[in-house]
Symmetry: C2
DNA sequence: AGGCTAGTACGACATCCGTCGTACTACTAG
DNA sequence: CTAGTAGTACGACGGATGTCGTACTAGCCT
């Protein structure tokens, strides 16, 4: 079984977390995990990118400490590290996820 | 008097805001503005970068809608658009600024 | 007017980042 | 054992980003 490195709770860095969640694809992953559906395999996210790119994004999220990944057979189960993030950066994850909802709900993406 | 373009409150984009605040230099600007000292000229921030780079960072923040800039003589006064941000992305700015404090207070930057 | 101060414009440069395809590994199911 | 599925490694590539220096403009002060 391969091993996946995760930063400890105390090692979480704001820079990494914010950079990780700056990308729309990665924010979408986090949002989907937050929306009640934890422990999803990477393939469960219908991302608009190739498999390699997908791997890349999941790695960024894991190394930033935003998600936790562990193998289950040939698949990887992903979950949000909501508790750790809350402990280290209270309200941050919540605010970003809520902001993502607001952003998606309004016609902000329009840029003709 | 030169004119500086700012996005309207409704036009604020999460992507832009998060990217803007992903950079340590820009986060530092926002933090300093939040710490009670509004309406500071660019030069009041002792940034560890050149003047041109400084201009660049202020522009990013302004175009993302994080700060408001207006000329006052030859200087520019900067202030946080805390109200607008709060209206569009409730809690987001607060959480990031608080996280920045936590991040600075703890030895997170250590990477031996 | 002339000099000073605050910031801008512009071009250059190195680096990082998101993206991809192909080839590979690890595990499961038959 | 073989075939299939899930994800990784690696290399490539183009575009964005942070940085700088130099030359410039706008406004203030004497």
């Amino acid at each position: 079984m391969r091993i996946l490195a995760h930063p400890d709770r105390g090692e979480l860095q704001l820079d990494a977390v914010l950079s990780a969640l700056s990308d729309p694809v990665r924010r979408r992953i986090a949002s989907q995990l937050a929306d009640g559906l934890d422990d999803q395999a990477c393939i469960a996210f219908q991302l608009p990118v190739s498999k390699s790119t997908s791997t890349h994004h999941f790695r960024i999220l894991r190394e930033a400490g935003v998600i936790e990944q562990h193998y289950r057979g040939t698949a990887i189960l992903n979950s949000l590290r909501a508790t750790d993030l809350k402990a280290r950066f209270p309200g941050l994850l919540q605010a970003i996820l809520q902001a993502a909802r607001n952003d998606a709900a309004s016609p902000t993406t329009e840029r003709p």
